[in-house]
C-alpha cells in the first residue's frame, strides 16, 4: 500500500447524496479477475451523460472527490474502492461515509475524510467556481486546506499510523516476521505438505 502523508490536487465536486456502491461500480464489473482496470466502470451509468461532471474537460486529472453525505452505502464490494483508485482519486471528502466502504477504503489506502457539511459546501462552491482550485489534504496535521478554507478532521490513531506508513494488514503482519519464522522453525515434521519432499 502506498503511504499517504499529504496530497494536493484538483477536485471533482459531486453534489449527490447517498451514492451507493452499485452506482460507484455496477455489479457486472465484479466478474473481472484483477484489481485494476475498473476506472471505466466508475459511475458508469452517470458517465453516459456528457454533462456529468466527471466528463467535463476541466476535471480531467482531478484527484480529490468532494461528495455528498452517505457516500458508499449498499453492497460491501471492495471493487468500489478499487474503481475510485484506478480512476486516480487519492482521497474522498464527505460529511458521512457508509461504514463498510470506509473500512474498505482505509484498508486500500484511499483516504476518506469526514468534514462538516458546511465545509463540504464551501469546497463545492470554491471548486465549482474555479476548476483549477486545489485542495490539500494533510494527514500529518489532520487538516484540509484550500483557498480561504482551513478545516481539521478526525481519524483514529491506528488508521492514521497505517496510512502514514503505507502499512496494509500484510505489512503489519510482516513486522512480526521473527515470530512467524520462530513458529515455523518449531512446526512438527509430520505436518502435511502439498509438495512431495
Amino acid at each position: 500500500m502506498e503511504a499517504f502523508t499529504t496530497h494536493t490536487g484538483r477536485a471533482v465536486p459531486l453534489r449527490r447524496s447517498n451514492v451507493d456502491t452499485d452506482q460507484i461500480i455496477p455489479a457486472h464489473w465484479l466478474k473481472k479477475v484483477t484489481r485494476d482496470g475498473f476506472e471505466d466502470g466508475l459511475f458508469e451509468a452517470w458517465r453516459k451523460d456528457p454533462e456529468f461532471i466527471l466528463n467535463k474537460e476541466e476535471r480531467v486529472g482531478a484527484t480529490v472527490l468532494v461528495a455528498g453525505p452517505d457516500f458508499g452505502t449498499g453492497s460491501s464490494r471492495e471493487h468500489a474502492v478499487w474503481a475510485l483508485q484506478n480512476y486516480g482519486f487519492k482521497t474522498v471528502i464527505s460529511s458521512r461515509f457508509a461504514d463498510i466502504f470506509r473500512g474498505n477504503s482505509l484498508k486500500n489506502g484511499l483516504l476518506t475524510v469526514v468534514l462538516d457539511q458546511k465545509v463540504v459546501d464551501a469546497l463545492w462552491e470554491l471548486t465549482e467556481q474555479d476548476p483549477t482550485a486545489e485542495i490539500t489534504v494533510d494527514l500529518r496535521e489532520r487538516q484540509v486546506l484550500a483557498e480561504g478554507i482551513t478545516a481539521d478532521f478526525e481519524l483514529d490513531e491506528n488508521a492514521r499510523w497505517r496510512l502514514l506508513n503505507g502499512l496494509d494488514d500484510i505489512s503489519i503482519t510482516l513486522q512480526n516476521e521473527g515470530d512467524i519464522a520462530a513458529y515455523e522453525a518449531d512446526r512438527p515434521a509430520y505436518k502435511p505438505r502439498t509438495v512431495q519432499v
Partner: protein
C-alpha cells in the same frame, strides 16, 4: 480448567498474542480455487510479494468447470477467463494446481481430504465458506475473503479473534435406520436456525457422531456454515486415522506415530466448558428435506409444508410466506406430494464415493421417473474413477441418469448445469437460496438416499417409500 478441542487447536497455532490485538494464527493448509483468488494474486504482484509457503498451498478448478465435453474449450468466456487466470497465477507463482482433466481435480473440499492433506489438529483455510468441511478431521477450518487469501499467501498467517465454542451433542447410540448425516445436519439447522451458530465454532459430539464414517462427518461439518457458524469440528478417532493412513500426503513411518500420538490428544477435556450447548436426540430423527429458501426451512419428509401463520415471530412468518411464494408451494401440502423435474447428486456436501454408492444402491435395477432428469456429478475426478471401477456409472446410466465429470456443477450453476426458471430440484447440495441453482430455480435439499428415491418416484420420497411402491407393482412391469 480443561480446554475444548477448538481451543486446543487454536492455541497450538498462535504465532503471536498481544493485549488488545487479535491473535496471529498460523495456517497449515491453504486451498485455492479460481473464483476468489485472482485479486489476491494480483495484490501480491502489485506489492512485489511471493507466496510464502508453496508447500502449504494447493489449487484446484471447480466452480466454473463444465461436466460435459471437458476436452473442448470452455464455452462461457467469463468462466474460461477465470480458469485461465488461475492457471497463469499458479504458473507464475509456482503453486501446485490440479486442472480440469487431472485425476486430482475436483471440488476443493473433496480434494484436500482425498489427498490426505486435511489432518487432525491443522488449520485449514480457503476463500470459500464450505471450508468448514475439513473440520470433520478435527481440523480448525474456515472460509476467508479475498483480502485474507492474499494475506495468507504472503504471510501464511491470519490475524483473528477467537470465536466462542458450542457443543452439539447427539444423544443416543446411533442414527435410526434410514437416517443419514444429511438428515441430521438439516435437523440441527432447522433447530438452531441459520443464525444460531453465529460467532461460534461448533463441536459435534456424542456416540451417534462417533459411529459415523468420515464421509458422513464431512457432510455434517460442511453445513456448519449454514447454521451461521465460523467452523464445525469433530474430534479425531480411529475412524479418522484409518481414513488418512496411506493417502498420498499422510505422514509416513516415524512421522505417522508422532502424528497419531498428537492427534490422540485432540479431544475436549472432561472439565472443559463450552459457551453454549445444544442436545439432539438421535431417536427423534427422520429423513429430512427443506421446503423453503434457506437451509433452516426444513421438516421431516413425512410432514407437510408449514403454514406461515403458525410462526409466532413476525420476521419468520414473513420469511416463510415469501419462501412459499418463491417455491410455488401451498401451506398444508404433504412434502411427499411435491413433484420434481431434476435430481442433483453431487457437491462438497454429498459428492463423495459413499454418497454415490448410497444413491446407486437405490436406483440399481430401477428406472428414474418419466420427465425427471437426474445428474450425478462426482465431487472429484478421483471419486469419479473409483465409482467407474465399481460400476456405479453403469448403474446410474441404466436407470436413466446422466453421469458427469467432477466439479461444483449444479450446486451453484456457475457452469452450464442449471435449473430453468420455475424448475424444481431435489439436490444433495447445501444451499436452497433463491436462484442458487439457476435463475428462478426451486431447490429442496435432501440426502443422496432421498435424492435417489425421489428420482425413481418423481416426487420427494425416501427409500422406504420405494419398497412400498415395489410391493404394489407386480414384478416385471
Amino acid at each position: 480448567m480443561g480446554r475444548t478441542l477448538a481451543e486446543k487447536v487454536w492455541d497450538d497455532h498462535v504465532v503471536r498474542r498481544a493485549e488488545g490485538e487479535p491473535d496471529l494464527l498460523y495456517i497449515d493448509l491453504h486451498l485455492l480455487h479460481e473464483v476468489t483468488s485472482p485479486q489476491a494474486f494480483d495484490g501480491l504482484r502489485k506489492s512485489g510479494r511471493q507466496v510464502r509457503r508453496l508447500d502449504l498451498t494447493i489449487a484446484t478448478e471447480d466452480h466454473n468447470t463444465p461436466t460435459l465435453d471437458i476436452d473442448k474449450p470452455i464455452a462461457d468466456p467469463v468462466s474460461r477467463a477465470q480458469l485461465e487466470t488461475l492457471r497463469k497465477n499458479c504458473a507464475d507463482f509456482g503453486v501446485r494446481l490440479h486442472s480440469l482433466g487431472d485425476v486430482e481435480q475436483g471440488v476443493v473440499h473433496v480434494v484436500g481430504p482425498q489427498l490426505g492433506l486435511t489432518q487432525p489438529g491443522t488449520t485449514v483455510v480457503c476463500g470459500d465458506s464450505h471450508t468448514s468441511t475439513h473440520g470433520a478431521f478435527g481440523a480448525l477450518a474456515f472460509g476467508i475473503g479475498t483480502s485474507q487469501v492474499e494475506h495468507v499467501l504472503a504471510t501464511q498467517t491470519l490475524p483473528l479473534a477467537r470465536p466462542k465454542t458450542m457443543a452439539i451433542t447427539v444423544e443416543g447410540d446411533e442414527l435410526p435406520e434410514g437416517v443419514t448425516a444429511k438428515d441430521l445436519i438439516l435437523a440441527i439447522i432447522a433447530r438452531i436456525g441459520t443464525g444460531g451458530g453465529q460467532g461460534y465454532i461448533l463441536e459435534y459430539r456424542g456416540p451417534a457422531i462417533e459411529k459415523l464414517s468420515m464421509e458422513a462427518r464431512m457432510t455434517i461439518c460442511n453445513m456448519s456454515i449454514e447454521a451461521g457458524a465460523r467452523a464445525g469440528m469433530i474430534a479425531p478417532d480411529e475412524t479418522t486415522f484409518e481414513y488418512i493412513k496411506g493417502r498420498d500426503h499422510a505422514p509416513k513411518g516415524e512421522d505417522w506415530d508422532a502424528a497419531v500420538a498428537y492427534w490422540k490428544t485432540l479431544k475436549t477435556d472432561e472439565d472443559a466448558e463450552f459457551d453454549a450447548e445444544v442436545v439432539i436426540k438421535a431417536e427423534e430423527l427422520a429423513p429430512f428435506v427443506t421446503w423453503g429458501t434457506n437451509p433452516g426451512q426444513g421438516a421431516p419428509l413425512s410432514a407437510s409444508v408449514p403454514d406461515p401463520a403458525s410462526y409466532e415471530d413476525a420476521s419468520e412468518r414473513l420469511a416463510a410466506e415469501k419462501a412459499l411464494e418463491y417455491m410455488g408451494l401451498e401451506a398444508g401440502q404433504p412434502l411427499r406430494d411435491i413433484k420434481v423435474d431434476t435430481v442433483f447428486v453431487g457437491s462438497c456436501t454429498n459428492g463423495r464415493i459413499e454418497d454415490l454408492r448410497a444413491a446407486a444402491a437405490i436406483v440399481e435395477g430401477r428406472k428414474i421417473a418419466d420427465g425427471v432428469r437426474m445428474l450425478v456429478v462426482p465431487g472429484s475426478a478421483r471419486v469419479g474413477l473409483q465409482a467407474v471401477s465399481e460400476g456405479l456409472d453403469k448403474v446410474f446410466k441404466e436407470a436413466g441418469a446422466e453421469w458427469r465429470h467432477a466439479g461444483c456443477s449444479m450446486c451453484l450453476g456457475m457452469n452450464p448445469d442449471q435449473l430453468a426458471p420455475g424448475e424444481r430440484s431435489a439436490s444433495t447440495s447445501n444451499r436452497n437460496f433463491e436462484g442458487r441453482q439457476g435463475k428462478g430455480g426451486r431447490t429442496h435439499l435432501v440426502s443422496p438416499q432421498v435424492a435417489a428415491a425421489t428420482a425413481v418416484l418423481g416426487h420427494l420420497a425416501s427409500p422406504a417409500d420405494l419398497s412400498e411402491a415395489d410391493a404394489r407393482t407386480p414384478a416385471g412391469v
